[in-house]
């Protein structure tokens, strides 16, 4: 392979990216070396097994990916603003919408949510860490290396261009002969390992690591939503693993699962992909529902309305999520009976979701509402998500779907649910739990600017797309003619997209601004909130709780505060040594070997993939022979830490 085949050449945009990647790397290395921070980076972050730090790293990675996916989105909008634009060529446009979709779902939405789950859930259930801290680090690093492998595709070798759904035969070897599709397969495969491990880890954590006094039906709603999400992950991700592996076999080893010849069945891919893909949609929405529940309850200063209904409706949604996948390809021609079945199951999902919407509204009813930034995101979610949901029911009608299918109507629909559901929740959760993570709040003034600009931009960007879809504009086209009459709405959408970009930049500036100027927290409870994570001091000690808290019902921390007001102070018990797990460098090294193996497979350099896999196995053996039992935090250290923290 020649060097100019290895590196992507010929496009000024790509050269610009090359330069900026090189500059960023050099800058990071320089800063770390100049301030002598390498050792700190390794011992405090890269080898950590602390769920709070892993959560923060997930969120940082997710924000970076949001930037990358957002740039992709703006490039698409730039191309589509005017008819017959020559800003991007067809192939480049295809690559961009493929990476945009894949990155936003797999490398932005999921890690952002999993990051918040990492930070918050153990604290909400009164645990000192997750069930398997080491595995948690493996989860993070395999996600990260999978994401990096996918991301380098646009400068090395070329990006995938068959859409994030990678339908065959387009994604097959004949029509996508380059390495791009291999990046998709291997990047997702490696990241998928991490997601599955997260699923197992948090399922067991939530079931077994709660403080003994917390019953299942007293868990905070975010913890409930996480628990149900983990169940979906455990049963959905193995399907993706198999689907990706089968396509990898097709492309690298000549098997015939999805080929057009020798008995292969292209539609099998669509089925397998969506048997994972639809539950995936709920993997990224249920934790969002959980966060909105917490935030709305906190800032309405009321207990969540209809707690049990909330839990059961999530269980029903999780069950139904595995029974609706065919609605992604009604037009495949599965026949009237099959389409009707999936049409009905799809519409059924609106019922439990509707129950949840009403529960949030009733929680707000007669509440003393505080309009913080986190609350604004949650309030904006409700009407916007309803628009997305109602258009979803429109799409669910199989006969009508023949009209909407593959148009911008669909694009508008899923952006309405994913952005106003998942992205709003990520922002709301970030503002809400930011003081728990970084010991200061994000600036509310900047936060509100960012909120209004982003939400206005979002609606300007995507609402017109419903009408573009009804006017017949197909999705995934790279340009259109002036006679199509789609220009004015596209201009509007681009304008909205730019506003969203500005809103995001203000958020990023807010992170910097608040780091510099926001007052440090003096209490662990800045919002007068209700659940146990707010009972920890600021900053949260690495062992989370000096004494395990007691949960006496819903909103355990609220009850504690009420009792304190009535003068019932909890008795002071002596501290006991706390057992904590040791940090380990094995997870990151193992994941680097996964990266090497994946990179080798992308280019079919088998020596390299074998080398990588041997490395993976070797690190597993090292781990198996490691009988490190962790360490105990001494009583003196706990006393010292508790004195320093403020409560």
């Amino acid at each position: 392979m020649k060097l100019d085949e290895f590196f992507v050449t010929g496009d000024p945009l790509i050269y610009g990216a090359d330069v900026s990647i090189a500059l960023t790397l050099i800058g990071a290395i320089f800063v770390l070396t100049y301030f002598k921070k390498w050792k700190w980076l390794w011992t405090e972050w890269l080898t950590t097994v602390d769920h709070k730090k892993l959560g923060v790293m997930y969120i940082i990675a997710a924000v970076l990916m949001l930037f990358r996916g957002g740039v992709d989105a703006l490039l698409m909008r730039a191309q589509l603003t005017v008819p017959d634009s020559s800003f991007l060529d067809a192939n480049h446009y295809n690559e961009i919408f493929t990476t945009h979709g894949t990155i936003m779902i797999i490398f932005m939405a999921m890690p952002f949510l999993i990051g918040l789950i990492n930070v918050v859930v153990p604290l909400q259930i009164g645990a000192r860490d997750v069930a398997y801290p080491f595995l948690n680090a493996v989860s993070f690093w395999t996600f990260f290396m999978g994401a990096m492998l996918f991301n380098i595709s646009f400068v090395i070798g070329g990006s995938p261009s068959a859409g994030w759904t990678s339908y065959v035969p387009l994604a097959g070897l004949e029509l996508s002969p380059g390495v791009g599709q291999n990046y998709y397969l291997l990047g997702l495969q490696i990241a998928g390992i991490g997601t599955l491990l997260t699923g197992i880890n948090f399922l067991v954590t939530i079931l077994k690591m709660r403080v003994p006094s917390m019953k299942l039906m007293q868990m905070p709603m975010f913890t409930w939503s996480s628990l149900i999400t983990m169940v979906i992950i455990i049963f959905a991700f193995p399907v993706l693993t198999v689907a990706l592996a089968l396509m990898t076999f097709d492309r690298l080893f000549g098997s015939h699962f999805f080929t057009m010849m020798d008995g292969g069945m292209p539609m099998l891919w669509a089925n397998l992909f969506w048997i994972w893909g639809h539950p995936e949609v709920y993997i990224v929405i249920l934790p969002a529902f959980g966060m909105f529940s917490e935030i709305i309850s906190t800032f309405a200063r009321k207990t969540l309305f209809g707690y049990k209904a909330m839990v059961y409706s999530m269980v029903v949604i999780a069950g139904l999520s595995f029974l609706v996948w065919v609605h992604h390809f009604f037009t495949m021609g599965a026949g009237g009976a099959v389409n009707s079945f999936f049409s009905i199951t799809t519409m059924l999902i609106a019922v439990p979701t509707g129950v949840k919407i009403f529960n949030w509204l009733f929680t707000l009813y007669k509440g003393r509402i505080r309009f913080t930034t986190a609350m604004l995101w949650s309030l904006a979610f409700i009407p916007n998500f309803v628009i997305g949901g109602v258009t979803g029911v429109m799409l669910a009608m199989a006969a009508a779907d023949y009209q909407y299918h593959n148009t911008y109507f669909l694009v508008a629909h899923f952006h309405y649910v994913l952005i106003s559901g998942t992205v709003y929740a990520c922002f709301a959760g970030l503002y809400f739990w930011y003081p728990k993570m970084f010991n200061h709040r994000l600036n509310e003034r900047l936060g509100k600017w960012s909120f209004w600009i982003f939400v206005a931009g979002f609606n300007l960007c995507f609402f017109p797309m419903y009408f573009l879809g009804l006017a017949g504009m197909p999705r995934r086209i790279y340009t259109y003619g002036i006679g199509d009459g789609w220009m004015s709405l596209n201009v509007l959408a681009t304008f909205g997209g730019v506003l969203m970009g500005i809103g995001f930049l203000i958020l990023v500036y807010n992170i910097y601004y608040s780091f510099r100027y926001s007052p440090r927290e003096t209490t662990g409870d800045p919002w007068d909130a209700r659940t146990l994570e707010w009972s920890t001091p600021a900053p949260v000690p690495h062992y989370n709780f000096a004494h395990l808290p007691e949960a006496k019902g819903h909103d355990a921390f609220w009850i504690m505060k009420e009792e304190k007001k009535q003068g019932k102070a909890p008795e002071k018990k002596p501290y006991k040594p706390i057992h904590m797990p040791s940090y380990s460098g094995v997870p990151i090294i193992m994941s680097v070997f996964f990266f090497i193996a994946g990179f080798g497979m992308v280019f079919s350099w088998h020596w390299m993939s074998i080398l990588g896999l041997i490395g993976v196995l070797a690190t597993m053996v090292i781990r198996s022979f490691d009988y490190d039992k962790g360490f105990y935090v001494s009583v003196e250290e706990i006393e010292e830490t508790e004195k320093k923290t403020t409560l």
Partner: protein
């Protein structure tokens, strides 16, 4: 939590918090494995008959080899159970003996399976022949790869048993690997039925 008193009947592997958590976690992992194999089975069954003009299973499957494989693997599951029985009775020697037998049977199974695969490829039915054979080799091969991993993993645990004897940590590992081994046995029963028996009567 570590200070809980255990009755003498509590097995060693359940005596530590880590032991209990890891065993539960592994059960959950097996749940994910069921989803994984279900997908492979579904794929295989969808592709049955799609031989693209190439050879079909009824021409190639031979009952004898498959029965030997089945017999070896099912017996290994029984001996694996015996190993756990001896472990519960604190007999390190018994554990070594029966895990040794289990591994030997597992290796025997693998040997016959590799022989079978080579035979099919020789007869013109490989991964690349048709969709049907792709499905066959990936389903049965994934099971075989699991057995291989299991043999390597359990061998490493044997070394740790040799170094450390029966402790809550080592017994936990033996117990978890035994769950894995039994699971592979269950999967094989489905393969035997859905692939071989069904393939021969097709």
């Amino acid at each position: 939590m570590e200070s809980v008193e255990y009755s003498p009947n509590t097995p060693l592997e359940y005596q530590s918090e880590t032991g209990r958590l890891n065993i539960l976690g592994f059960w959950v992992f097996l749940g994910a494995e069921i989803a994984l194999f279900s997908t492979l089975f579904a794929t295989y069954l969808v592709l049955v008959g799609r031989t693209g003009g190439g050879p079909g299973p009824e021409e190639l499957f031979e009952l004898k080899g498959v029965l030997i494989e089945t017999f070896l693997l099912l017996t290994s599951s029984f001996t694996c159970g015996l190993a756990i029985h001896y472990m519960r009775n604190h007999s390190l020697k018994g554990v070594f003996l029966w895990i040794g037998v289990t591994l030997a049977l597992g290796l025997g199974f693998l040997g016959f399976e590799i022989y079978e695969f080579v035979h099919y490829i020789h007869e013109g039915a490989a991964l690349t022949t048709s969709a049907y054979w792709s499905g066959f080799f990936v389903l049965v091969g994934t099971h075989g790869a699991h057995v291989t991993m299991g043999i390597a993993w359990i061998s490493l645990i044997l070394i740790q048993l040799k170094q450390r004897g029966l402790t809550p940590d080592t017994t936990r590992k033996v117990f978890i690997s035994s769950l894995y081994w039994h699971f592979l046995d269950v999967v094989w029963i489905f393969i035997f039925t859905a692939v071989y028996l069904y393939g021969m009567v097709m």
